[in-house]
């Protein structure tokens, strides 16, 4: 069905966020999965209009945080009570109050790393280029235009039918996206 390997998907352009939001609802209801909306600023209500499900990121953060916590406790216990036991001002070799600040900090640090890099991973980053950047119209996605992009990898994607569907959404234009990154 694809025309060539570099074909990425179809793009439809809108002049304002309200039209984009209504169009997103239609794309959502049509059952597409591999698609996205691009706006120059955050638009309230887009998550619902696009039917975006909850992210897995919190679970990644939870694992990161627990790892940090365990790492800190093990490190403090091993250093102070096993590897170099030394009694300081009559304190136990492993006193939990003394361990709390470092444990807290490492939990926060690992959670932050898990959040930041987990978000990268889920978004397919880092990447230096994207097929969308080769489109002239898409350059206005950071200033004053609003876009929906349906990728060819979507199970429902059929070039003629999908194109006709996107044209029915009432956008300014529908265009094919071809990756020209290697040109």
């Amino acid at each position: 069905m694809t025309r060539d390997d570099r074909f990425f998907g179809l793009l439809v352009e809108f002049a304002d966020p309200t039209r984009l939001e209504h169009a997103c609802e239609k794309v959502r209801d049509a059952g597409f999965e591999h698609w996205d909306a691009h706006t120059p600023f955050p638009v309230h209500g887009m998550d619902a209009a696009m039917g975006i499900k909850g992210t897995r990121l919190p679970w990644i953060v939870l694992v990161g945080g627990l790892t940090g916590m365990a790492a800190a406790l093990l490190m403090i216990w091993w250093m102070n009570a096993v590897d170099y036991p030394y009694i300081i001002s009559g304190k136990p070799l492993f006193g939990w109050p003394a361990a709390v600040p470092v444990t807290f900090e490492l939990t926060v640090l690992f959670s932050a790393f898990a959040t930041f890099f987990g978000m990268w991973g889920l978004n397919g980053m880092p990447r230096l280029s994207h097929p969308l950047f080769s489109n002239e119209r898409f350059k206005r996605a950071t200033t004053d235009r609003f876009f929906i992009v349906v990728e060819k990898t979507d199970p429902q994607f059929e070039i003629a039918k999908t194109r006709a569907f996107l044209e029915s959404l009432g956008g300014l234009a529908v265009e094919e996206i071809h990756d020209r990154a290697e040109d």
């Binding site: 966020p17 309230h44 919190p58 109050p97 003394a98």
Partner: protein, 405 residues
């Protein structure tokens, strides 16, 4: 652009109406009866009302901390130009306006200082004469009572300023009143920070005349602030159950309640631990003595219950977005936090009365009903005389369509 229709004030009832009297009259009656019963029972103890005064002090400190939380919530909203909270701001305004009435509730303690505070007693047994002399310039009855007059004068002034100006705006819809309140919010928070810290120390820390903690004021504030958010959650949801403020206060507002309860639960634990760890590390007798009593006997069990019940459980229970966007979980944790924070103040104050162990007494319950009944009665009465929503606030529209991303 919002995906849900913006609710209108006309969609719901924003007046307390007869409900105000239906709550305030029985509450005030329960308060007065419980107070008299507590006085009678306290008298029958034959200890010069010592037990009664301690029970009263615990419950007074508890409800005072809720009102103080409400008092600082208001200028924080103005100084940050917050819009989400506008629709519910009248509730904290009324809770803060309970402060002038609470001045009267100090009397059972202030009239019996010698039985409650060792520094005011005839025969101090922990204070050496040298230390007593050293502390006397600050810890003497005249200055103590004078400070309480000053605290309540400042709190009354602040609470009345925001209450009156906000209600004046209900009529005039004048946005300049908002600017005036924004301008005064900075100094208001400064005044609050000083008075709340000193009041917390005066009320609870000086129960032990030897012990001191520089973070104690923050500790008292932190507990009160999280209790205030729990009380605000229950008040808003309770009003909605009677058909008031429906739709205009949405799950997006409640989501913020959940976030704030979560954040200040942890803040309270953070402060409590900061205080504990420094004294554990320093290990100096005059500093650790306070914790020694509260870590031994059945007080130690309460301390452990607080570590788990006031910090870890609500923290874990409110961490997820799911829990913050459900009425049942929010109500459950709000009630839980209110119970735990009551035990926090109990655990701070009561070991001075019974160092040998926990001695929950009918007096504690009667004083809870006494102070609580009067507090609820005053707040419900105040809300009856006004709209439940600051209808003249220029940010009300924004607040109604607020969405929590």
């Amino acid at each position: 652009m919002s995906h849900r229709p913006v609710p209108k004030l006309t969609d719901t009832s924003i007046e307390m109406g007869p409900l105000s009297a239906r709550i305030s009259r029985p509450a005030l009656a329960v308060g007065v009866v419980a107070l008299l019963a507590a006085l009678g029972l306290g008298w029958a103890q034959g200890d010069d009302l010592r037990h009664f005064s301690f029970s009263w002090l615990v419950n007074f400190a508890y409800f005072l901390s809720i009102s103080l939380g409400a008092l600082v919530f208001i200028p924080i909203q103005y100084i940050t130009r917050a819009s989400w909270s506008v629709v519910i701001r009248r509730l904290p305004e009324a809770m803060a306006m309970a402060l002038p009435f609470m001045a009267l509730l100090t009397l059972p303690v202030l009239l019996n200082l010698g039985q409650v505070y060792e520094w005011a007693s005839e025969h101090p047994h922990h204070l050496t004469p040298e230390l007593a002399m050293h502390k006397a310039p600050f810890l003497n009855e005249a200055f103590f009572v004078g400070r309480w007059i000053a605290y309540f004068a400042i709190w009354t002034w602040l609470a009345m300023f925001f209450w009156r100006t906000s209600r004046q705006q209900d009529e005039s819809k004048d946005p300049r009143l908002t600017i005036r309140m924004e301008n005064r919010s900075g100094p208001a928070i400064l005044l609050f920070a000083l008075t709340c810290s000193f009041a917390g120390m005066d009320l609870l820390m000086t129960l032990d005349p030897v012990w001191f903690s520089t973070i104690f004021g923050v500790y008292y504030f932190a507990g009160g602030f999280v209790t205030f958010y729990a009380a605000l959650t229950l008040a808003t949801m309770g009003l909605q159950r009677t058909g008031r403020m429906r739709k205009i206060v949405s799950m997006d507002h409640f989501h913020d309640y959940g976030k704030l309860m979560f954040a200040f639960t942890f803040f309270w634990g953070y402060i409590a631990f900061s205080q504990y760890m420094l004294y554990w590390y320093g290990n100096i007798p005059e500093e650790t003595a306070w914790y020694l009593v509260r870590q031994s006997s059945s007080w130690g069990a309460i301390g452990l219950v607080l570590c788990i019940g006031a910090l870890l459980l609500p923290w874990a229970g409110l961490v997820s977005r799911w829990a913050k966007r459900r009425r049942s979980t929010l109500i459950g944790w709000a009630i839980w936090i209110m119970i735990m924070q009551w035990f926090n103040i109990y655990w701070v104050a009561m070991p001075v009365f019974s160092p040998e162990g926990v001695s929950l007494h009918l007096l504690d319950l009667l004083c809870l009903l006494g102070v609580g009944g009067l507090w609820v009665g005053v707040v419900a009465h105040l809300l009856g005389a006004t709209s439940l929503v600051p209808v003249g606030d220029p940010r009300l529209e924004e607040s109604l369509k607020f969405e929590n991303a």
